[in-house]
C-alpha cells in the first residue's frame, strides 16, 4: 500500500489473480472501502485482459457453431430463455399463499363490481389486477407441476458465517427447469437486492431472479433452462436490480447433493 491507496503493482497482480495469502486479503479489505482503487482495478483488468490477445486466434470447428445455434433455437422455441430488458426484474410471480387463489378470485370479482362503478382510470387498475391474477394462476399451475413431480427436490439454503440471518427453501425440478423459492432474510441494505442463483456442477451460475427479503408468504416461481441440474442454490447480495453473474457475497447457500 502507498499512503491511503493500493500500489498499482498490487492491483495488477490482483487483476492477474496472482496475489495470494495476506497480501490478497489486505488488498481486498482496502478495495471494499476505496472507490478510487476500485477504479484503478478496472484499469488493471484492462491490461491483464489484453494479455489474452497474445494467444493466436484459432477458429473453432464449424460443428461448435452449428451445435450452439441448435441449442439457441431449441431454447427459443421452448421459451426457456427469457430475454429481459436491462435493469428490469426477471419475470416472476408473487404468489400470495396466505390469501389463496380462491380468495384472490373473489377479490377480483369484488374489484370488478367496485371498479365498474368508478371512472375509466379505475378500469386501468382493474386491467393490472387482472394481469397480476392471471400471472398468479399461471404460477399456481407451475407450483402444482413441481410439487406433484416425484423427481422434484427440496433444498434448504442456510445463512453464511458473518452473513445476515436468514433461511430459505427451493423446491426445484431440474427436468422441467421449474422451481419455487420461499424464505426470509434480514432486509437488504439500501441500494442492494437479493438474487437467487442455480449453481450447476459445471458452467456459470444461472440467474434465477431477484427475491425479496421476506418471501415467507409469497413464493417466487423461477423458470430456468430445462435439464440444468443444480449442484447448489445460492442467494447473493447484489447491486439494486441484480446482475447477470454473481458479484456480491453469498448470504444463503444450500447444496442439492
Amino acid at each position: 500500500m502507498t499512503g491511503s491507496h493500493a500500489n498499482p503493482e498490487d492491483l495488477d497482480l490482483y487483476a492477474l489473480d496472482a496475489l495470494d495469502g495476506e497480501e490478497k486479503q489486505t488488498l481486498e479489505a482496502h478495495l471494499r472501502a476505496c472507490p478510487a482503487c476500485q477504479q484503478q482495478l478496472a484499469a488493471a483488468r484492462q491490461r491483464t485482459a489484453l494479455i489474452g490477445l497474445a494467444a493466436p486466434p484459432a477458429a473453432p470447428r464449424p460443428q461448435v457453431k452449428s451445435s450452439l445455434m441448435d441449442k439457441v433455437r431449441t431454447e427459443k422455441q421452448s421459451g426457456a430463455t427469457q430475454i429481459v430488458p436491462s435493469n428490469t426484474r426477471k419475470k416472476r410471480w408473487g404468489l400470495r399463499f396466505s390469501l389463496g387463489f380462491g380468495l384472490a378470485t373473489a377479490l377480483l370479482a369484488f374489484a370488478t363490481y367496485e371498479f365498474a362503478k368508478q371512472d375509466l382510470d379505475r378500469g386501468k387498475q382493474l386491467q393490472q389486477l387482472q394481469a397480476q391474477l392471471s400471472e398468479d394462476a399461471a404460477a399456481l399451475q407451475a407450483m402444482g407441476q413441481v410439487t406433484g413431480a416425484p423427481d422434484s427436490a427440496q433444498i434448504t439454503l442456510l445463512q453464511q458465517p458473518n452473513g445476515p440471518p436468514g433461511q430459505a427453501h427451493v423446491l426445484y425440478n431440474a427436468r422441467m427447469g421449474l422451481g419455487v423459492y420461499s424464505g426470509q432474510i434480514a432486509p437488504a441494505p439500501s441500494g442492494k437486492s437479493y438474487q437467487l442463483w442455480l449453481v450447476p456442477s459445471s458452467g456459470a451460475p444461472a440467474n434465477a431472479g431477484l427475491v425479496d427479503a421476506n418471501q415467507q408468504n409469497g413464493a417466487v416461481v423461477v423458470r430456468l433452462a430445462p435439464g440444468l441440474a443444480p449442484k447448489a442454490f445460492a442467494v447473493t447480495l447484489e447491486p439494486l436490480g441484480g446482475r447477470p453473474q454473481p458479484t456480491g457475497p453469498m448470504v444463503l447457500v444450500g447444496s442439492a447433493g
Binding site: 498499482p8 503493482e9 495488477d12 497482480l13 487483476a15 492477474l16 489473480d17 496475489l19 495470494d20 495469502g21 476500485q38 482495478l41 478496472a42 484499469a43 483488468r45 484492462q46 491490461r47 485482459a49 489484453l50 494479455i51 489474452g52 490477445l53 497474445a54 494467444a55 486466434p57 484459432a58 477458429a59 473453432p60 470447428r61 461448435v64 457453431k65 451445435s67 450452439l68 445455434m69 441449442k71 439457441v72 431454447e75 427459443k76 430475454i83 429481459v84 430488458p85 436491462s86 435493469n87 428490469t88 442463483w197 458452467g203 456459470a204 451460475p205 444461472a206 440467474n207 433452462a225 445460492a234 441484480g242 446482475r243 447477470p244 453473474q245 454473481p246 458479484t247 457475497p249 453469498m250
Partner: protein, 185 residues
C-alpha cells in the same frame, strides 16, 4: 461503384439479439469466437474443453442479452474476462472464482474506448502490439506473467512450480506488469 459494407456495431447486434434475432447472435459469434477460442485453447490445451467453454460462454450471452449493458463495458471485454475465468476454473477446479469473481464491474472499460476492436483489423493490430510488448520482456518475466495469466497461478504457486524463491517471483511479475503498463498504457 460498390459501397463498402460497414460491419454492424456490437451494440446494434446486441439490440437485435435482445429481440431473439439468431442472425445477430451468429454475427457476434463469427466476430469473436476465434479470438476467444485462441485464448481458451492456450489456457486449457484441450480443444474439446475449449469448445465447451466457448459454447457455454456464448449460450450465456444469448440467455442474458437483455441484462448486458453496453454502457458499462464492451462486449469483447466481457467475453475475454469471463472466458478466461471459466477456463482457469475448469483447468484448476476452482469453481469459487466462477461463482464469486465474475464481477460485472471488473470488465467495465476493459478495452479502452480508443481501441475499437469490433473491427477485425484493429483487433489484429492490437494483438500484435500485445505480443510485441510481451516479447520485449526478459524471458523469465514473460514466463512468470504467462504462468499467472494462462495457468491462473498465484505468485506462491509459480514459486513452488519453478523452484524460484517467492521474492524473486514477486519481483519478476511486478516488474513485468510495470513494463506492460508503460508499453500498453
Amino acid at each position: 461503384m460498390t459501397a463498402t459494407m460497414q460491419p454492424a456495431p456490437d451494440s446494434a447486434l446486441m439490440d437485435r439479439m435482445r429481440t431473439g434475432d439468431e442472425a445477430a447472435f451468429s454475427a457476434l459469434y463469427d466476430r469473436y469466437s476465434a479470438m476467444l477460442f485462441g485464448m481458451l485453447t492456450r489456457i486449457l490445451r484441450d480443444q474439446q474443453a475449449a469448445e465447451e467453454v466457448l459454447q457455454d460462454l456464448f449460450l450465456q450471452l444469448w440467455r442474458n442479452a437483455g441484462q448486458f449493458d453496453a454502457a458499462r463495458g464492451s462486449l469483447p471485454a466481457w467475453l475475454m474476462v469471463i472466458g478466461r475465468n471459466r477456463a482457469i476454473s475448469r483447468l484448476r477446479g476452482r469453481r469459487d472464482r466462477e461463482v464469486l469473481e465474475e464481477e460485472e464491474g471488473d470488465y467495465a472499460n476493459t478495452f479502452a474506448s480508443g481501441q475499437n476492436i469490433e473491427d477485425e483489423t484493429v483487433r489484429a493490430e492490437l494483438a500484435r502490439s500485445v505480443s510485441a510488448a510481451l516479447g520485449q520482456l526478459p524471458v523469465e518475466q514473460r514466463q512468470a506473467v504467462e504462468l499467472a495469466y494462462f495457468e491462473g497461478m498465484t505468485q506462491s504457486e509459480i514459486a513452488n512450480k519453478t523452484g524460484i524463491p517467492l521474492g524473486t517471483v514477486k519481483t519478476r511479475v511486478r516488474t513485468a506488469m510495470q513494463t506492460l503498463r508503460r508499453i500498453l498504457g
